[in-house]
Each structure stands twice: as structure tokens, then as C-alpha cells.
């Protein structure tokens, strides 16, 4: 049976709200619409109670305590608050921070702002699988280093970071560690103690919660991390993030965290098998396909492949029955190749011809089998048109054309 088209295979971009999450949210959009800061009546109490339940649910997902969760509008805001807030608060310690070239733009752009403010930022390189060696982090630390910001898992390739190792290094050297866990949350087990994280960002809409809601974990003990607020106003969230709480969104994030905690192991096993089926199905039938990402230390739902001798935009158009991402996840309309793939040393041509398949809870085996056939057909059609492929078949290096 042909699945309904187009097939969504872009769950690293966003996810649909899980039914169980939606059910939990609905009362707070309807009858229970109170403002949690209305301390004088039942509407406020009910909203406040729901927010605190959600705080516990999110804390449980990452091994934190509820007092360490600060609600935000999403991971971008969390990253801003973590980096700008920590750098501002601890600027007397030094003016240096460390991050990685493959971070999301929500970290890299904040780092660029810090550079303009006079900070020195070290952008660590990765190997050809996108793997960051923890030893590089240690080597980059100076007596001026205030903060390390390293993502838990990469959004484009799914490659994980050695967080526990980095956490130990940070602790040993007395440097704060922030991790953008937007992609990892709900996909792999995470514990802030095991990771040694002092600050951790996550977003509801990547784990089957609603858009517009996220949180920042801020460590309260050993060490107690303090941040300079970036949004000022009524003093919500212990003064760290003013603004009326997005109660339905927060309830949704809490419910999503609880669902993820329960379903994570089963989801990982099922999606890992489907991802491997997709990978094997495509690569066993098509030559000259290059996987991007670490072969094993990688999110179980993510497959990033580059198809040699075809052009990315044409490939995506041929693949219109699949909702997938190409070379650059956030700026797909431009020809600028992905900074992540570039950092891994992937050539511009192969970065341009990269497709990211990311599977999610609703993904079925029928969808995977359809995607395999659709991808093979699209690549074969474009290669039949490609003069570069013809030259390569004849044993001529197409680079000679350039």
C-alpha cells in the first residue's frame, strides 16, 4: 500500500504534537486558562500547580531537580540565556569561551555576538565523521576560559558528543559547561550529573511537544550557577526570565518529557532498525553514496547521505514525495553548503548533494520502503542526465572540468 504523500521524514526539524501531549494541554487553552502568578484565586493556583508538575516531568527526563528548570520560548532563547547570561555574570573570570564548528546557528550566532563584545571564542574542529575529540576541548582551555558550549547531538548528522568526558574536563578545570541538547532530548538517555552539564537547553517541539516552548537547566548545586537575565520585566522564573508563562506550552513540554521517558527505549530500538533499513536499502542499490556522520556514535533516527554526481536542488525536487532536508537545514533556499558538512571536510559538491532523512515516532516501515524506492529512482534519473556521472563511468575525473 502506498503511504499518504508527501511522507514526512524531517523529524529533526520539528515533530507533530503527540496525542497524549495535546490532551494534557487542551484544558489549559480552555477552562484552565489562569495566570500562574495570580496568587489570589483558584485559576492562578491551578495553572501554577500544572507548571510545577511540568517542571518535575522535565527535570526527571534529564536527572535534574525541578528548581533547576527555567522556562523559555525554545532552545534558541535558552542558548542565548545560557551563553550571554553566563559570560556576563562571570566576566571577571576571563573573556574566553570554547565551542565547536558544527554547533547550531543558535549557538554560533550568539558566540559571534560575544566576539563583538570583546570575547575570544575558540571554535573546535571535528573529524570527518563530525566527532569532536574531548582532548581538543581540554587543550583549548586557558586560565581565561569561562564557558564551554558543546551540543549533545548534531541536528544534521546525528553525531553525538562525548559529553561525559567533556563534563569531567570542565569540572576538573573549573569551567562551566553548557550543552545544547535540543536534538538529543527524548532520543537518548540524558543525565546532567553523568554529563557534567551546568547548563542544558532543550525545546518542546523536537520531542513531540508544541512549538514556542523550551527550557534551560541551570545547576543549583556544586557549583551553583548564576546567570545575568537577558529578558527583564515582572521577575518570573526567579528573575531569570520575565514574561507571563506559556502555560499550555509548558504543560505540553512536561507531558512530552514524560512520554519520551516512557517510550524512549522502544522508540530508539524501532527507529534505529528502520534507519538502518533505509540506509542499507539505498546504499545496497546505489553506488557513490557517501554517509555523513559517525557510523555508531549517532542518533538512532538520523541518516545523512550525499549522492555524488547529482545536484542538491534538483534532487530535492525529484524527491518531492519525501519531506526531507538538504545540504543546509536552516538555509535550504541558499546554495551555501552546510557549515556542519564543511567542518567535516565534505566537498562543496557532496555537501550540496546531501539529504538528511530523520525519522520519528509516526514513521512506518511502509514509509521507509517507499523512501528507499523514491530515492533510488530520483538519483538514477538525475545521474542518467548528469554528464559528470557519464564521465565518472568512463573513468574520467569530473574535477578536470572545473
Amino acid at each position: 500500500m502506498t503511504p499518504e504523500l508527501p511522507i514526512y521524514m524531517d523529524y529533526n526539524a520539528t515533530t507533530p504534537v503527540d496525542e497524549r501531549v495535546l490532551e494534557a494541554m487542551l484544558p489549559f487553552l480552555r477552562e484552565d486558562f489562569g495566570n500562574p502568578t495570580s496568587h489570589g484565586h483558584a485559576f492562578g493556583w491551578k495553572a501554577q500547580a500544572a507548571v510545577e508538575v511540568a517542571r518535575q516531568q522535565v527535570a526527571d527526563l534529564i536527572g535534574a531537580t525541578p528548581q533547576e528548570i527555567i522556562w523559555t520560548s525554545g532552545a534558541t532563547e535558552s542558548n542565548n540565556l545560557a551563553i550571554k547570561g553566563a559570560c556576563e555574570m562571570y566576566r571577571d573570570r576571563g573573556r574566553h569561551m570554547i565551542t565547536c564548528r558544527t554547533e547550531h546557528r543558535a549557538v554560533l550566532e550568539v558566540c559571534a555576538v560575544m566576539e563583538q563584545a570583546g570575547w575570544q571564542v575558540t571554535y573546535l574542529p571535528v573529524d570527518e565523521t563530525g566527532w569532536l575529540d574531548a582532548g581538543q576541548v581540554e587543550a583549548a582551555i586557558t586560565d581565561q576560559t569561562v564557558l564551554i558550549s558543546i551540543m549533545a547531538a548534531n541536528n544534521e548528522t546525528g553525531t553525538l558528543s562525548p559529553m561525559a568526558e567533556i563534563g569531567q574536563i570542565a569540572k576538573k578545570r573549573g569551567v562551566l559547561l553548557h550543552t545544547d541538547a535540543t536534538q538529543a532530548a527524548g532520543k537518548i538517555p540524558m543525565n546532567v550529573e553523568a554529563m557534567g552539564a551546568d547548563l542544558l537547553s532543550l525545546s518542546a517541539h523536537k520531542l513531540y511537544g508544541p512549538k514556542g516552548c523550551g527550557c534551560l537547566y541551570v545547576r543549583r548545586r556544586s557549583p551553583r550557577v548564576r546567570l545575568a537575565a537577558q529578558i527583564h520585566g515582572g521577575g518570573h522564573e526567579r528573575g531569570l526570565r520575565s514574561g507571563t508563562l506559556n502555560v499550555p506550552g509548558i504543560v505540553g513540554l512536561g507531558a512530552a518529557a514524560e512520554v519520551a521517558r516512557g517510550d524512549m527505549a522502544a522508540d530508539a530500538e524501532r527507529l534505529g532498525a528502520l534507519r538502518d533499513r533505509l540506509d542499507a536499502g539505498i546504499r545496497s542499490q546505489l553506488p557513490d553514496v557517501h554517509p555523513n556522520g559517525h557510523p555508531t556514535k549517532r542518533l538512532c533516527n538520523t541518516l545523512n547521505l550525499s549522492f555524488a554526481y547529482v545536484e542538491g536542488e534538483a534532487l530535492k525536487m525529484k524527491l518531492s514525495s519525501l519531506a526531507v532536508s538538504s545540504g543546509s537545514a536552516c538555509r535550504s533556499e541558499s546554495r551555501e553548503p552546510s557549515h556542519v558538512l564543511k567542518a567535516m571536510g565534505v566537498s562543496d559538491a557532496l555537501a550540496n548533494a546531501a539529504i538528511r532523512f530523520s525519522l520519528g515516532r509516526p514513521t512506518t516501515r511502509e514509509e521507509i520502503d517507499f523512501a528507499i524506492e523514491a530515492t533510488i529512482r530520483a538519483v538514477r534519473e538525475l545521474r542518467a542526465i548528469s554528464p559528470l556521472y557519464e564521465l565518472a563511468r568512463e573513468g574520467i575525473d569530473p574535477k578536470r572540468l572545473e
Binding site: 554526481y309 534538483a314 525536487m317 542526465i385 554528464p387 572540468l401 572545473e402
Partner: protein, 135 residues
């Protein structure tokens, strides 16, 4: 935003005409290979000219975006049956208009124009080198 391509564009992208290769050693065949250095697009376009100077066949292959593929298709359609002298007046504007290309896709029109002019030049050069009398 969903790209708003014309039906003509989609038709020639989905089912490009005249994809393939001609025997480049044939003295009747002229081959042009054009590239766009900014984006790396490549179009190889070949014409086969009969003794009367008429283009009997035109074939292309493209490595490039959807517009470059559709451009090769409509360009080879246009060339077929035309006299070489007439074909020399070919410009990318034909491709732009026929496919309703937006400005950011018009490099594909230039790519096709370059490929046509190179193919004609190659045909002339080949014929001259091999001592063929003018038809």
C-alpha cells in the same frame, strides 16, 4: 515558501527531452560544454548537422539544478530542425521566457546559451579541421 514553477518548467524538469550523447568523433557532431563557476552547474550540449547545414539532432546532459535541466530540454527542442546560422542567434532569453524563470534562476538560461554557441563553434572547427567543404 513553495517554489512557484510554471507548468512548462515542471514538465521539462520531470520529463526532459533529448537527454543523451552523440558520437563526439563524428564530423557531423559539435559538442559544447558550459559551466557556471558560481554554482558548479555543467551542461554538455551536442548538435548533429546534416550536409544541408540543418541541425538534425540535439542532445544534452546536465549536472545542475532543476532550471538547468529544464533549460537543456527546451533548448534542444528549439535547436532541432533549425539551420546552424539561425541557431547562432539563439539567446538565453528564449529559455527564460519559455520556462518563466525568475531572476535567480536565469544563470541556467546563460548556461544553455553558452553551450549552444560552443557546440556550434566546435562543429565549425571540427569541419574545418577535417577539411569538409562548406555545404
Amino acid at each position: 515558501m513553495e517554489p512557484n514553477h510554471s507548468p512548462e518548467f515542471m514538465e521539462h524538469f520531470a520529463r526532459p527531452r533529448n537527454v543523451g550523447s552523440l558520437d563526439r568523433r563524428s564530423r557531423r557532431v559539435g559538442t559544447g560544454t558550459a559551466t557556471v563557476s558560481e554554482c558548479g552547474d555543467v551542461m554538455r550540449l551536442q548538435i548533429e548537422v546534416d550536409p544541408q547545414g540543418r541541425i538534425s539532432r540535439a542532445m544534452f546532459k546536465t549536472f545542475g539544478c532543476s532550471a538547468a535541466i529544464a533549460a537543456g530540454s527546451v533548448t534542444t527542442e528549439w535547436l532541432r530542425g533549425r539551420n546552424v546560422d539561425e541557431a547562432e542567434s539563439f539567446t538565453g532569453d528564449y529559455v527564460t521566457e519559455r520556462l518563466s524563470l525568475p531572476p535567480d534562476k536565469q544563470h541556467s538560461s546563460h548556461l544553455a546559451q553558452d553551450a549552444v554557441l560552443q557546440a556550434i563553434a566546435d562543429w565549425k572547427h571540427t569541419r574545418c579541421r577535417r577539411g569538409q567543404p562548406a555545404s
